[in-house]
Amino acid sequence: MRHIISLLMENEAGALSRVAGLFSARGYNIESLAVAPTEDPTLSRMTIVTSGSDAVIEQINKQLNKLIDVAAVMDLSEGEHLERELMLVKVRAEGVVCDELKRVTKNFHGRVIDESNSTCTIELTDTCAKLDEFLQAIDRKLILETVRTGASGIGRGERILKL
């Protein structure tokens, strides 16, 4: 099953490789990993999308907690949460194609952030699944580049991950 794990860790050189190394050394999946400092610059917040049996997910949580630099871990998928991913897509788009693309983009609440004579770049922020849907909705042959950040997640309401 797919899980979204959030964690807070010391914002130090090497902390990211400890997490990435843990996943590769123990054979766990990483679908995506997003990381950046928080409002407290000494801490980084990481969102990992992974999958595995309940036993594997339990081990992942325990092994992450065991890393000295990791201060807190929360499996967001165990409760109510939100996830968002940012995607930039550059599409070959001229004339009618461009108009059609803009219509689809509007339906997906995206926006066009760059246009040239022959290309159109779209920005879209939504759940991973919704971004996948968008890619299905446009003509795949026209896609020039896709850049995705990987999911970032946060608990709903009073579900808070903070030190």
Binding site: M9, E10, A13, G14, S17, R18, G21, A25, A55, E58, Q59, K62, Q63, N65, K66, I68, D69, V70, A71, A72, L163
Partner: protein, 569 residues
């Protein structure tokens, strides 16, 4: 007053009460060695290879309650140390390794003797640090010691670039350390402990399975009291030997691949299993699916939550410091009116005793013609009155030592259980002998393993370490040969040790005493002579039966009840 980074590093070691460090100098640690030279509190043991420095620090830690310390240079210094670090990591040994690094301004430029020490050791340390500012050295070393010995212990690396060790700053050693993201556990949850006790008291076929965690936590006394009060059978893993007295009647021997028949069967067919500081290693429970076919309740006490429910399902997990948790459990037991059901216990012990008879005990066919390796260990046990520190290398000799030397005290059996590192025994014995001066230290080894760090005979000479090397020389990589005999159609691919040196002459060349023993009748006299030479290192080269195999044996991938006894083949 301002001190250099190197002086600070040495002062920190003094503050931590470090008496001996093991190391090898080189370019990147020259400042640290210079600081070491100018003081006399911390004594340095010059090894002949960095791997041995780490193993020696490891043996030092295992046989005492101290943190072992090793000092190596950058590049090949640290890469040579990696095997030692991984060995300590797998067995949760508290250790601090200080490595020199190329100057900070040269990092990343492929400088001479540069290697990413923090990167290369990351998967085999509890934690590691690269010191980037001389002001951070004292706090980093303080943290390293704290991390190494608290919680689940383990090795911690501190990598210090050469320029940092030469810069000056004001020095003061921090009195305390706080790492916000690291909070080792203490006592266990009392509700869980009550549940565990209830489960134990209601068990019809209970079994105590105690591992190396008991030794590391210093909880042998608590374990022993608990087992005796409950009257249950107890097994110790390879890492846990000595955690419960081996000569006690409730002890059923070691479980697992080369464990006793009764320990394997009792593990398999108990209805309540309490695992204490053990981790259901593949060499202990064998095939986990096979193990799970027999229903049983499992209580698991461990300091590391990630060890619980990793390989088997657990009914009552208890996370905590074993010593404290066992004391809590004993407290609950004392105040409980209920006792284990006497008739259930009698029935269960009858079954265990039947297994003891069926297994026939640890046994081998002795010979008057050829030396049986098990016989050497039995005699070693007798002659040292069961009170020696025994280090071992890895292979058949390790299993025979674990089987036939009865350890009644913790920290007496020093071996590489998790990583299985050949070459561990001799350097580990050096560390053991240094922290236990005057004690009898035997290194049980084979002609294969000993050659992986035999250069340390030179270190032993320099520092007058009267270790007794008991080499079971069967001219084969015995455990490899055994597997090839059983599972690879007797095709002994590269397991024969041809062109062996004359170990007697070799020992003599290093300035030690060497004895070659060919006949069974010479085994006892040779051991006696060797152990009477209190001041000498004696290298005993026992010419043993090359065809002898280790039994019982649970073949890889098989279940515990599929154990093969000697006569089954």
């Amino acid at each position: 007053m301002e001190l250099t980074g190197a002086e600070i590093a040495i002062r920190c070691l003094q503050e931590e009460g470090v008496e001996y460090i093991f190391g090898y100098p080189g370019g990147a640690v020259l400042h640290i060695y210079d600081a070491l030279f100018q003081q006399d509190k911390v004594k340095h043991i010059l090894v002949r290879h960095e791997q041995a420095a780490v193993h020696a620090a490891d043996g030092y830690a295992r046989s005492s309650e101290n943190v072992g310390v090793a000092l190596v240079t950058s590049g090949p210094g640290i890469t040579n140390a990696v095997t030692g670090i991984a060995t300590a990591y797998m067995d949760s040994i508290p250790m601090v390794i200080i490595s020199g690094q190329v100057p900070s301004y040269a990092i990343g430029e492929d400088a001479f003797q540069e290697v990413d020490a923090v990167g290369i050791t990351r998967p085999c340390v509890k934690h590691n640090f690269l010191v980037k500012d001389v002001k951070d050295i004292a706090l980093t070393i303080k943290k390293a010691f704290y991390l190494a010995k608290s919680g689940r212990p383990g090795p911690v690396l501190v990598d210090i670039p050469k320029d940092i060790s030469n810069q000056k700053t004001a020095y003061s050693y921090p009195t305390s350390v706080n790492i916000r993201s690291y909070n080792p556990v203490g006592k266990g949850d009392s509700a869980q402990i009550k549940r565990a006790l209830q489960m134990l008291l209601e068990a019809k076929r209970p079994m105590v399975y105690a591992g190396g965690g008991v030794v590391l936590a210093g909880a042998s006394a608590q374990l022993t009291e608990l087992v005796r009060q409950l009257g249950f059978p107890c097994t110790n893993t390879l890492m846990g030997l000595g955690g419960y007295p081996a000569t006690d009647k409730q002890f059923v021997g070691m479980p697992g691949m080369h464990g006793t028949y009764e320990a394997c069967m009792a593990m398999q067919y108990c209805d309540v299993l309490i695992a204490i500081g053990a981790r259901f290693d593949d060499r202990v429970v064998g095939n986990v699916e096979h193990f799970a076919q027999v229903p049983r309740k499992i209580i698991h006490i461990d300091i590391d939550p990630s060890s619980i429910a990793k390989r088997v399902k657990v009914d009552v997990p208890v996370v905590g410091d074993l010593k404290l948790v066992l004391e809590q459990l004993l407290g609950e037991l004392r105040s409980s009116k209920q006792k284990p059901n006497a008739s259930d216990m009698a029935t269960w012990w009858k079954q265990v005793d039947e297994w003891r008879v069926k297994g026939g005990g640890l046994r081998y066919k002795n010979s008057t013609e050829i030396i049986k390796p098990q016989y050497v260990i039995e005699k070693l046990y007798e002659i040292t009155a069961g009170d020696a520190f025994v280090t071992s290398d890895v292979g058949q000799h390790q299993m025979w030592a674990a089987q036939y030397y009865k350890f009644n005290k913790p920290r007496r059996w020093i071996n590489s259980g998790g990583l299985g590192t050949m070459g561990f025994g001799l350097p580990a014995a050096m560390g053991v002998q240094l922290i236990n001066p005057g004690a009898t230290v035997a290194c049980v080894t084979g002609e294969g393993s000993i050659q992986m760090n035999i250069q340390e005979l030179s270190t032993c000479k320099q520092f007058h370490l009267p270790i007794k090397v008991v080499s079971l020389n069967n001219r084969y990589l015995g455990m490899v040969r055994q597997w090839q005999e059983f599972f690879h159609g007797n095709r002994y691919s590269e397991s024969y040790m041809d062109a062996l040196p004359d170990f007697v002459k070799l020992a003599e060349a290093y300035g030690h005493v060497g004895i070659r023993i060919d006949k069974p009748s010479d085994v006892e006299p040779a051991l006696k002579e060797a152990f009477e030479r209190k001041k000498d290192l004696v290298f005993m080269d026992f010419q043993t039966d090359p065809t002898e195999n280790v039994f019982p044996m649970v073949p890889g991938g098989k279940g515990l009840s599929e154990v093969i006894l000697a006569e089954d083949l």
